[in-house]
Amino acid sequence: MADSRRRSLAAIVISLVALAVIVGALWPRGETVRTDAERSEHIASRLRCPFCNGESIADATSRVARDLEVVIGEQVAAGRTDEQIYEFFAERYGESLLLDPPLTGWGWALWVLPLGALVLGVAAVARRRRHPQVVPVPTAGSLEAARIREQLDHVELDRTEVMEQQASGEFDGGTATGLFASLDEEARTLASVLAASETGESVPYPAGRGRRTMAGVAFVVVGVIAIGGTLLLTTDDADDGGIVDAPPIDLASITTDRLEEVILANPDVIPMRLLLAQMLMDEREVARAAVHFGEVLEREDNPEAMAWIGYISFLAEQYETAEGFLEDALAIEPDYPQAQWWLANVRLLGLNDAAGAIGPLQDLLVSSSVPEDIRRAAGEMLRQTREPS
């Protein structure tokens, strides 16, 4: 490929990357937001949830995120502007909560730099366009013509070298043939330019080998930097820091192994042990989790541990045991949606006791503290139990 075409391509790629960076950064701001709900959602997507490992309030699933969404909703309903609401959060948590860097301090540079890159990239492409790929050949006897002649000599030297290496068995026949072919091609092009320089014709200008390497290296470097830059500028998880010097850590980043060590040293700490056991369940380490739920039950009649042991028994297809544990958990804490849901599952799917499942399902539908997904699933299951099978 001709050097100039390569460089045009590089310029186009860089321009496109710069454009992507700008569009990516500006997109959420450019949206026209109408209803209060849409405005709230939009604001929540531009604020970092303080307890959620860098996720936005809109994306995070934690309770803090829901709480802060309520606050945003109230402020939107009270008629405060987007800017006032961002300001409200920045006054409390600091500007690190804003996912759009503000246009103050260093913030402006983040917006201006990709724009500058785009303008320069476009300028470079435009220049290549004006600069034709077929250029007049150097006049005979000029410095440029001498350079081409020198290059031609280099090609001949290379050919000799390849021949020697082939003789000493460094290359096999196929590789050598390939190398000869490309050297022949290069020699032909160079010779044709030299010939044309005598007659003054225009031919495609051949690339110097040094320049070609340089273009390749530069292309790779630019590509790597552009991709890195795009990732860093368009993703928001580059920092979790903010006000504290040590970045806050998510409990997810505390390994269950580390937590287990702490618990071994403090065997009677129930909440921590329950947390560990639930983390182990999330990691599908059911056997390890069961041990910790069991340890909790040895220390106290904890409904949470009972319900989980019930669920684990259900997974192990020990349906009677499962029903027993879940019933015990609900006897201690009647308003426990998760346990009711599991109990309904155990009875309907494990014990084929559709009539027994109806009770907990109805409880789920009337209780006010049931998470929406469980309520929906319970409604669905209740319909199934009533259908004649």
Partner: protein
């Protein structure tokens, strides 16, 4: 562009092209470097609360009806500590907070322990049953993250210091030690400034 002698034109075009490309690379690198600065450099955002009046928010008591308005404690030095039953650091710092509350009671220092991010009040009470309650500590709970929002709490434990004029004068992120509590309270008693201290990691939990 002016017409050039054909032999020179190639070199000229190349030079400008590489200058432009180099400029693009420099801009992209600068952009990356600057974006990195956000959040990683604590000097960019210090706790915005320091130097401001303590937030006007009513915090419900943990184990009894009613609530506390921290700003109403004006005239007292107030230590506001955010904690949860699942947080290691909170467990670690608990004895230091209890003994400091005891020790500084005569100096007009009130300790307010705000339970935050526990799934149930039962867990919070269970924690206190286990590690013990301070006689001179007011136990309250955050509801709907309102108090944590007003204080800008980013992790647990975090401890804020309020002077007798009702102004937030200091913040400690991470588990506080007995020594740090004594030093900080002595400084406030002497009317010195505190600022912000980080003792270690604060914990977050998406729960």
């Amino acid at each position: 562009m002016t017409d050039r002698e054909p032999g020179v034109k190639q070199a000229g075009g190349d030079g400008l092209f590489w200058v432009l490309m180099a400029a693009v690379i420099v801009l992209l690198v600068l952009g990356v470097v600057i974006s990195r600065r956000f959040g990683s450099d604590p000097t960019i955002t210090a706790s915005p609360l320091i130097g401001k009046p303590v937030p006007l928010v009513t915090v419900p008591y943990l184990e009894e009806p009613g609530g506390l308005v921290i700003a109403d404690l004006e005239g007292q030095i107030v230590v506001v500590n955010f904690w949860a039953s699942w947080c290691f650091g909170c467990r670690q710092e608990h004895p230091a907070l209890l003994s400091a509350a005891e020790e500084y009671d005569n100096f007009g220092v009130t300790f307010v322990a705000v339970n935050y991010q526990d799934n149930t009040v039962g867990r919070a009470i269970g924690f206190l049953d286990e590690v013990g309650r301070g006689e001179h500590t007011v136990y309250v709970r955050d509801e709907g993250s309102r108090t944590a929002l007003e204080f800008g709490v980013l992790g647990l434990p975090e401890t804020f210091f309020v002077n007798r004029e009702g102004v937030v004068v200091g913040k400690v992120s991470g588990p506080i030690t007995g020594r740090l509590l004594v030093e900080t309270l002595d400084k406030i008693l002497l009317g010195q400034t505190i600022g912000q201290v980080t003792t270690g990691e604060v914990e977050n939990r998406a729960g």
